[in-house]
Amino acid sequence: MFLEYFNYWIVVFLMMAGFYIVIAHDNLIKKIVGLNIFQASVFVLYISFGKITGGTAPIIAEGFSVYSNPLPHVLILTAIVVGVATTALGLALVVRINEAYGTIEDDEIHKADEEED
């Protein structure tokens, strides 16, 4: 059973790992890394259930009658682009935060904020 659903176990593992990193780490860049891992798990999920047993790559060719579903691939490309945009934006924010606060550790930023009004 484990081997049959190996992909989905990976999905679960990556999702939890990514989520944990987002919550547990204070470093802002590491949080973004965690987000990326979290989103990667979703990519694996989509691609996994796009695969049809016995299907080949979804390119029409002679001699093949069963193809894998191309739609999830398309969806995932979109989601990857969204993920890249999010990462870029997040990192840009981190650069600005570093300029403003001098640090990218969450707890230090909180302390600096509390001292302000």
Partner: protein, 492 residues
């Protein structure tokens, strides 16, 4: 041309955004943004009229037939929501010119208006589309633009607020995409109306249940339903004034629409409320939101933060109406969507006027402001009366329907709780009244005059609307009743 209105509604702002990026002469980008917003408002008004007279409109993007092609389906629910979004945007744009110039500086406003148009386009796309994945794409377009807008606040805490919003918002969006993926895995389609048919046939399998859970959690995060509201106070507080007003009036409302669409149209009512006990969960969370958020609002010193927590409470009212899932309850929710949008939008605009003159909205620095800026304070207090739900304001009509819905369902204690939490709103609104009017002006206060008319005029349009629609309730009420009928009746 008329046949393409659903698409034009979304495309006009989308094209306007890169044009803004290119127009760098003074603040002509503001003019581009305003023209796009007003054009969208005109189109959404015409669409609403068409839906009222002819019924739902189905538009095929690029001529590709659904369910493979992307379909834009405009019925009463999204026509109304799009009217709210474009309407608020149109009123705020004249306000934005002076306000953004003051807070952001003239030279780089084109960045601001580019992001604004992307945000605006995203909201409209979410509302118009009938395809689940297309909804996710527009939702992310909107969210990313919102993170940028929030981060443009003057205070450096706007950056951390934007970052926090980014992390939480992305998690929410990812949950939504997981949900959509699971739905696709089970049914093989992404068109929302096709999904509805297929889900009915499949019934409540484990995959559907998991998809439902992911979707509800993800949407609730975008909606700021307690306890997933943590991003909201910081985002609203530190964003530029115009952005706070625009977000408060539109972002969460569109998320409510998404929730309604999924709960009632995609998943049918039996699945949502009978098989899974969503009504109890939502009702409990809504009541906690109403009381906890109102109570926290009472103790805030920063008025923007106070109104942000008040928004969380008001969203609690909306979700409470959904949890009742009878016609009156959904009517109350949709009605409060409209009413809260104009009330909160107006109040944040009034706060923006104060920021424009005084540079702060800390309640301790606002002593005697009723005398220094009488018109602005009057607008703020009138909006506050709407939050309390005093008769002759729009807030009263929503509360009326909400309590009636609770009584009709037999859950009258909920009705009593709604009324009791309104009393909490009295406390925080009256804090503003007492500081503004009862305290004398401090001697060393700077001389400020009333806000300029380009800021006051939109504020009064929105606050005036909240009084007008509190007396002549035809437009929003008819729309809300029709929406509720369509959503709860047969789910389209």
């Amino acid at each position: 041309m008329v046949a393409h209105f659903p698409a034009l509604l979304v495309i006009i702002p989308l094209i306007g955004a890169p044009i803004c990026m290119l127009v760098r002469v003074r603040d002509w980008s503001w003019a581009v943004a305003t023209i796009c917003t007003w054009a969208s408002f005109a189109i959404s008004w015409l669409l609403l009229q068409q839906v009222i007279s002819d019924g739902s409109i189905s538009y095929q993007m690029g001529g590709w037939a659904p369910p493979i092609g992307i379909e834009y389906r405009i019925d009463m629910a999204n026509a109304f929501v799009m009217l709210i979004v474009t309407g608020i945007g149109s009123v705020i744009m004249p306000y934005a010119r002076e306000s953004v110039r003051a807070e952001y500086g003239v030279r780089r406003v084109y960045f601001f208006y580019t992001s604004y148009l992307l945000c605006f386009c995203g909201l409209l796309g979410v509302a118009a589309t009938g395809d689940a994945f297309n909804l996710f794409v527009f939702l992310e377009i909107n969210s990313l633009a919102t993170y940028v807008l929030v981060g443009m606040g003057k205070d450096r805490r706007a950056l951390t607020a934007a970052y926090q919003y980014l992390v939480l918002g992305t998690i929410g969006a990812t949950f939504i995409v997981i949900g959509i993926g699971l739905l696709y895995a089970e049914t093989g389609t992404l068109n929302m109306y096709d999904l509805a048919d297929r889900i009915e046939k499949v019934g409540a399998s484990r995959t559907i249940g998991a998809a439902f859970a992911f979707l509800v959690v993800g949407i609730s995060l975008k909606l700021a339903l307690f306890p997933l509201h943590l991003w909201l106070p910081n985002a609203y507080t530190y964003a530029p004034s115009m952005v706070s007003a625009f977000l408060a009036a539109t972002a969460t409302k569109v998320a409510v629409y998404v929730l309604l669409r999924f709960l009632f149209s995609v998943f049918n009512i039996e699945l949502t409320f009978d098989v899974l006990p969503l009504d109890y969960i939502f009702a409990a969370l809504a009541v906690i939101a109403m009381f906890a958020a109102s109570t926290v609002a009472i103790f805030q010193e920063n008025l923007k933060r106070m109104l942000a927590y008040s928004s969380v409470a008001q969203i609690g009212y909306i979700v409470l109406g959904i949890s009742l899932h009878n016609a009156a309850g959904v009517t109350a929710s949709v009605l409060h969507l409209f009413n809260h949008a104009i009330i909160k939008g107006g109040m944040f605009l009034a706060l923006g006027c104060i920021v424009y003159r005084l540079g702060t909205v800390n309640i301790h620095h606002l002593q005697g402001i009723g005398r220094r800026m009488p018109l602005t304070t009057a607008a703020l207090v009138t909006g506050g009366l709407g939050l309390i739900g005093v008769p002759l304001t729009a807030g009263f009509v929503s509360k009326w329907y909400l309590v009636i819905a609770a009584i009709e369902k037999g859950w009258w204690p909920l009705g009593l709780l709604v009324l009791l939490s309104s009393l909490l709103a009295v406390v925080y609104v009256w804090r503003i009244v007492e500081v503004a009017y009862m305290k004398p002006v401090p001697e060393n206060a700077e001389q400020v005059e009333e806000a300029p008319s380009s800021l006051l005029f939109p504020t009064f349009i929105l606050i005036g609307a909240s009084i007008y629609f509190g007396i002549d309730t035809d437009l929003p009420l008819d729309a809300a009743i029709e929406t509720a009928k369509q959503l709860t009746g047969n789910g389209e």
